[in-house]
Every structure is written in C-alpha cells, then in structure tokens.
C-alpha cells in the first residue's frame, strides 16, 4: 500500500474541566491516502469535528491535544509553530465548513475573499488574483461567475456560498481537503449537487478528502473509506461497501439499522373513514418591507392548498426549505393567519375563528415542534408544561397533573419527570415531553413540524417508533411535515410534495416513491443520498 499523505496516531484531545467527558478525541488512529475520500461518520458529540480541527491547528482555545501525532510529510503538525502552520493552511491543507453563510465574511466581496488565499501566501499580483477568482468560480460551477465574484455573500444562495467556499479551498490546489459537514445545512437537491462537485474535483485533482458527516446516506454517496466514531473513539473503519453492507461493530449496526428505509410499504387497505380535517384553497402571502416610498416584497408562501385527512391517517408534507410546508402547518393551527381558504376541523371552520372561541377550539388540533431545546420553557417544570394546556381549558389542577403523569408514562418517561426541569433531559426525552404535551388536550389532529429533524439518527428512530405506536393506539390523525424523504417514507400513509407554495403531487407514499408523476418529485427523490446504494442492495 502507498504511503498515507497524512496519518493520525493515537490522537487524544482533552476537554476543559467540567465538560461531560474528559477527552473529545480519545486515542484515534487514522490514515488518509491521496486520491481517496475518507468519511468520518458519527452522531453529534462524537468528536469527529474536533479531530478535523486539530489537523488544521484550529482547535478552540480551551481545548488542546494531550497525546498523539498528526504526521504530514514526515513531520508532526502538532509540533509545528503557528507560523509554520499558517504557511501550510490554505496551501497544503484546506477546509470547508457546515454553515456557508457564517463561514464567509459578510462585509467582503467574494473575489476579495478568494484573492486573500493568494495574498496570505504572497502569490500572484492583485490583478491576477481577481482573474483567478473568476476562474475558480467557473470551475465550481457558479452561474455567471464574473458577477458572483463582485457579489457579497448575502447575495448568493446557500449552495452558491458553499461553492464559493470550495473555490476558496481549492485555490492553491491543496493536497488535503477537510470538509466538515459541508452539506448538512443544504437542501437535498443542492446537497446532491455539492456532493457531486466534491467528488468530481477530488477525482480531477487526486486530492485526499476527509469528509465529516452524520449522515450514512451521504456516506453511501461519496465515501471510499469510512471511519465510524463514537464518544471520541473510532469503533470501526473499512471501505464504504464493507462498512455499510457488513457492519462489524454493534454501534455501527445500530446506526445503520436506525436509518429509515426508503421502501415505503404498500399502505394497508383502510376502511373508509370520515375525514377529520378538510382544507380547501388555503393561501398565505407575505408582504415584507414597504413603506411610504418603497414597494413591499411579496412572497406567496402557500398557494391554493387543499387536503383531507382521515382519522388514524398520517399525511406527510415534504419539500425543501422555503417550499411553504411549514407555513401550511402553521396556518392550520392558526399560528399564522391564512389569507384565504377554509380549515374544517370536525366540521367546524377553524380558519375564521377569533378570540375566545379560537382559544377554546385550539384543543382539538395540536403541534409537535422541531427543536427539543426551544420547545420547552426552561423555567417551567415538566409537569407544569404538560398540565398547563388542560388547565387553560378548565381542567382542575389535580386532574391535569394526573393526566400529565399518565401521559409521561405513555411516551415512555418516568413519572418522576413531573417535578424536573427540561435541562435535566436529553434531546430525545424532551421530544417525548413535547409529544406528551401535544396529547394532553386529547386533540383530533396532531401536526408534527420537522419533529425528528434535530435528532441524531438513533434517537430519531426511537421517536418515530413512538409516534407510530401512539398513532396506532390512539387512532390519531397526523400531519407530518419534513424535508427528509426517508423519514416521510417510513411513517406516512400518504404524501404531499410541496414546491414553491403548491402541492405539486399528492398520493399514497408507495406511489410517490415508486411511481412519481411530477418532474420535481422525481428530482427530489433522486437526490436522496444513498438511494442508489440502497436500491442496489435491495435489488
């Protein structure tokens, strides 16, 4: 085997006192070879980003390596002075980050930020630097590169920004590119494009790429080799195929098992039930800005959306960010005022209720939120969080707390949770509390808005199981809003695909995945990372 371009030997990085564990990275050994993409995969907090930052010498102030070596070109990078590292950074080792918005200086033009790479290494004249910037932008496939070069970051889309980041990283043709979750913040179709771009460039230049991700789908798309990290340690390494198809370590197996399968089952034939929720011609238009002298900006977030939901049924609304899927959910629960349309809930039009009557009617439609950290009042105990709703609807305090206790049990939490504060719980547990809260009012319909998107994949699987179980036991009608088609495939009976405020296609989940009729739906499904691999495996 050839020499690795870079090897990490027994790297150990200490966390500051008071952290939840002593070492962020604990005795990690890794080798990176020229011309390969090595994926480091792990859940949040596994230490994968720390390792990457250590290679660049960009660890946070309070975190320091205590043991091990990072050998590049026969020398240990950890021994290098800051000045020596500065020379290597950008020239030999380059890095791209998760958030392309915040990773670019908002006050500088794109071309200047690219030109800085040359400037840092005293290469080229200012004029040629600008010309190079345009060339690089062309190479990473930005439309109208000359214009983009003069643009400020905020004038570009998320995908374009990430392309700028890549252009910047590639400016000096580094040997090693470190990509820290570069597609996590992007929509699925954009993600597919960026992954392809990285793959292509890596092939073209024969770079070594270390790609950090939490998403096995992405791994399947891009990795040559995979290293799986858990709590600072590498638990398994191997070729992509070997690890994905034949995981050895229990943790790896658990992770892979937790990935929602794309194969949506044929929906069981249900006996016809009366629809509990009927939505007709729902529309919502935003107007922002505008005043005495300027015209407002108009965005049609929801355009003429109609849907029906029967008891016990789960409807998925999928779409990319900005498609209007969340607006639909919020219009339904009246967190947002629809401009037009009717929302008939058990025969009553919710869309036009006001004041006290709206407040009273709210009990029958509830919501589960995305962020388990933001959805619970940090200054209220769990018991109060759940009991508040019933109490607001006139249930006596004691009874409300008893109901809260029953619900906690139902969602798989200990009753003692009632007297504790949210910060004492993990993300998954909090999401269970959120579900209990939604159930507390015994609603007819529950809307889950990206309810599992913020969770790690293993936790996500548990919560999805819980929801499926509850749906079955309580015969709930559920609207499941998500950007993740895999999740939708797993839990939904029917799916509505949303694009630019409209339902472009609605149908049974199985049909949508296997026989998409709409072109956009097809693009969306084809962009799902790891799909090809999965299809190939399933055969």
């Amino acid at each position: 085997m050839t020499e690795p371009v870079l090897s990490i030997e027994n790297l150990t990085i200490a966390l500051p006192e008071g952290a939840d564990r002593a070492f962020a990275v604990d005795g990690v050994n890794l080798q990176l070879f020229a011309g390969e993409i090595l994926c480091i995969v792990g859940e949040s907090g596994s230490g994968k980003s720390m390792a990457a930052n250590a290679m660049m010498g960009l660890l946070p102030d309070l975190v320091r390596p205590v043991d091990g070596r990072i050998v590049y070109g026969k020398v240990d990078l950890l021994d290098k002075t800051e000045a020596e590292l500065m020379d290597l950074r950008g020239r030999k080792l380059a890095m791209i980050f998760q958030e392309p918005m915040s990773a670019l200086n908002p006050l500088m033009r794109v071309e200047d930020q690219i030109a800085e790479v040359y400037e840092a290494h005293r290469l080229l004249s200012p004029k040629t630097r600008a010309a190079r910037a345009v060339e690089l932008l062309t190479e990473v496939g930005i439309p109208d590169p000359a214009k983009a070069a003069k643009a400020y970051p905020f004038q570009l889309s998320g995908g374009q920004r990430q392309r700028v980041m890549i252009a910047m990283a590639l400016a000096l043709e580094p040997e090693i590119l470190i990509a820290d979750e570069p597609t996590t913040a992007l929509d699925v179709t954009t993600q597919a494009q960026i992954l392809k771009l990285i793959r292509d460039l890596q092939r073209k230049r024969g770079m070594a790429v270390m790609f950090i991700t939490h998403d096995f789908g992405v791994v399947a798309e891009i990795a040559d080799r995979v290293a799986v990290m858990q709590l600072g340690k590498i638990v398994e390494t191997g070729t992509a195929d070997a690890v994905l198809d034949n995981p050895q370590h229990a943790y790896t197996r658990k992770l892979i098992a937790a990935i929602p399968r794309l194969a949506a089952g044929q929906a069981p034939v249900r006996k016809e039930k009366t629809p509990v929720l009927e939505v007709e011609s729902l529309s919502k238009t935003y107007r922002t800005g505008g005043g005495l002298f300027s015209k407002p900006r108009v965005v049609e977030a929801v355009k003429d959306v109609s849907l029906q939901l029967a008891e016990g049924e789960t409807l998925g609304i999928v779409g990319e960010s900005g498609s209007g899927k969340s607006s639909v959910g919020r219009c339904l629960v009246r967190l947002m005022e629809p401009d037009q349309g009717t929302v008939r809930l058990a025969g009553r039009d919710m869309a036009h209720l006001k004041g006290e009557r709206l407040r009273a009617a709210r009990g029958s439609i509830q919501m589960i939120f995305q962020d388990p950290y933001a959805s619970l009042n940090p200054r209220a105990k769990i018991g109060r969080i759940i009991a508040e709703g019933p109490m607001a609807h006139g249930v006596a305090r004691r009874e409300a707390y008893e109901r809260a206790a029953r619900l906690l049990e139902l969602v798989g939490l200990d009753v003692s949770a009632i007297d504790r504060y949210p910060h004492e719980f993990s993300g998954g547990q909090r999401q269970r509390v959120g579900i209990a809260r939604a159930l507390a009012l015994e609603p007819r319909v529950i809307i889950a808005d990206e309810a599992v998107s913020a969770l790690d994949v293993s936790i996500q699987a548990q919560v999805l199981d819980l929801l499926a179980d509850l749906k079955e036991r309580l015969d709930l009608a559920l609207i499941f809003i998500t950007h993740d088609l895999r999740v939708a495939a797993q839990i939904c009976d029917r799916i509505a695909v949303m694009h630019r405020g409209e339902f472009v296609e609605t149908g049974p989940a199985h049909d949508i995945f296997n026989r998409p009729r709409n072109a956009y739906t097809r693009t969306l499904i084809e962009a799902i990372p790891g799909r090809e691999k999965e299809l190939a495996t399933v055969g």
């Binding site: 950008g90 380059a94 890095m95 200086n105 840092a120």
Partner: protein
C-alpha cells in the same frame, strides 16, 4: 439612498415637532413666567408693568394659540425671539453652538479613536495584564461622575500644576488672532474635551472589546485562519470591520447624548456653549430660547443618527444593497 435620506428627514421633522410640543407644555407647566423674572431683575415692578411684559411676549394669549404661533414660526425656520436676552433665539444659539460643537466633537473623536484603539488592544491581549489594565481603567472611567473628574482635573492640572487653563473658551482679553488664537482655544479645550470624552471612551472601549471577542468566535474568522492569513490581517480585515458595526450604532446614539453631557462639562469649565445657555434659559423661563435649544439639540441627535445610519450603510453591504 436619496429616498432613504428624504424619508429619514420627514421622520425627523415629525419627531422634532413632537419634541417641541412636549417641551412646550412641559415648560409652560413650570411655575413662574419670564415676565415676572424680568420684572424681578428690574428690582421693582407693579402689575401694570408685568402685564405689559406679558403682552409683549404674547403670554396673554391662550396656550394653544401660543403653541400654534410658535410652531408656525418654526416651520418657517424662525425660532422666535428671546425677550430676556433681547435677541432672536437663532442668533443666541448660533453664537454659542460652535463652542458646544467644538467641545462635543473633539470629545467624541477622542473617545471614539482612543476607545476603539484601546478596545482592540485589550481584545488582542485578552486575559493578559495589558487587557486587565485597560479594562480596569475603562471601568473606572465608566463609574466616575463626569463633573467630579472635571473638578479634579481642574484641581490637578490647573490649580496645582498650572499646566492648562481650567476654565473658559479662550484667554479673555488676550485678543489673539489667527494661529495663536487657535492654539489658545486648543489649550482651553484639552481639559473639558478630555473629561467629557473619558466616559464615552470607556463605553467605546468596552463595546469594542466585547464586540471584537464576539466576532472572533464567528465561523468566517476560522475560515480566514484556514486560509493561512496572518493574525494581524485577520484582526484588521475580518474581525475589526465586523466588530465595528455595533460600535458605530452605539457611537451614533451616544453622540446625541454628548450634548446632554456637555451641560455638566460646560458648567464646570465655564465653556460658553448651549448647555449653559439652556441652564440659564431654564431658570429664567426664557421659553423661546429653551425650546430653541431643545430644537437644536434634538436636531443634532437626529442628525447624528442619520449620519450613523448612512455610515452603517457604507460599512455594511447587506443594508446598502438590500435597499
């Protein structure tokens, strides 16, 4: 941009009229009136005399009529006439305004330049002794009453050491001209401008330091480091420029308040500015003069805010291009 400025001017005009109206009623709610004060200074007066004065000042008219007359004048840029000083209000204010502007702008520049410099320095050596010294000094300046520093400065530099003049705008009666006069004024300016600037210097320093530290945690700074840029360039080009945005906002807000702070400084240093004029006008119930001063100082606040906003647009492309 032009439309933006126009819009801001319209808004400013509305605020100004609101301020004038509020103050008009406030001042008239105060006990006593200028006629009585003026009569008092004459050493004796009878009802006839006071009535005569009231009529002359238009104080015999209903309050709303007076307000209407006043605002009507203001709309024609006529700030009225000070009966106490026997001069048009505008003349009085513009005679004093240069002194106040000189004082406040000098203090402002001192505060902004030294404050941000110190803030940058402290943030660059965060945790080291130079940071501790700068931060402690800033905290002290921040906590010290302005008028007291002023008094102590006079005591030390003027009375004990006799290095600098402790009062006034220039050497009275010296009749310097040209450069000699400028130098003379500059000497008189040092103590008041520095003491007035100290507090704001502390504010800017603390703000700059905090802002620099905050920005230095942002992702794009990491990007800049990943490019291999030198720390100095990262500090200047990436951190400083972004860190200055909140400082600019604050500077705009504070610049307006400098005018208020000038009342104390002008009192201690006998600086012939509008701060003192206001205090005198207040005691004498010189309604028109007082309203005029409020008009001018509020206009200055609004002007500073406008300049800040324009500056902000220049610095921050997001706002500039979005409009």
């Amino acid at each position: 941009m032009l439309r933006f400025i126009l819009m801001r001017l319209v808004k400013a005009a509305i605020i100004l009229i609101a301020i004038l109206t509020l103050n008009f009623f406030l001042i008239h709610a105060a006990p006593g009136d200028p006629a009585a004060v003026l009569a008092g200074e004459a050493g004796a007066a009878d009802a006839q005399f006071i009535e005569q004065l009231r009529e002359r000042f238009g104080l015999d008219k209903p309050l709303l009529t007076q307000l209407g007359i006043y605002l009507g004048g203001v709309l024609q840029l006529d700030l009225g006439y000070s009966y106490r000083q026997q001069m048009p209000v505008a003349d009085l204010i513009f005679a004093r305004l240069p002194a106040t502007l000189l004082l406040t702008l000098t203090a402002f520049v001192i505060a902004l330049v030294l404050g941000t410099l110190a803030g940058v320095l402290a943030s660059a050596r965060v945790g080291k002794w130079s940071d501790t010294v700068i931060s402690t000094l800033a905290l002290l300046f921040y906590a010290t009453p302005l008028f007291w520093v002023a008094l102590m400065a006079v005591l030390v530099f003027s009375v004990f050491l006799n290095w600098l003049p402790g009062f006034g705008y220039e050497t009275v009666g010296a009749n310097y001209t040209g450069f000699r006069r400028a130098l003379d004024i500059a000497q008189h300016l040092i103590l008041p401008a520095t003491t007035l600037g100290l507090f704001f210097m502390a504010v800017y320093m603390r703000m700059t330091r905090a802002s620099m530290l905050e920005v230095s945690q942002l992702d794009f700074v990491k990007t800049a480091r990943a490019k291999g840029l030198k720390p100095g360039i990262i500090q200047r080009r990436h951190i400083f420029r972004n860190a200055m945005l909140p400082v600019v906002t604050l500077a705009g807000l504070q610049a307006g308040q400098l005018v208020g702070g000038a009342v104390l400084t002008e009192t201690v240093f006998a600086w012939p500015g509008i701060g003192r004029l206001m205090f005198e006008a207040l005691a004498q119930r010189d309604y028109n003069l007082l309203l005029g001063i409020f008009f001018v100082s509020a206009a200055m606040v609004l002007l500073f805010n406008l300049i800040t906003d324009i500056l902000y647009r220049v610095v921050d492309p997001r706002i500039r291009v979005a409009s």
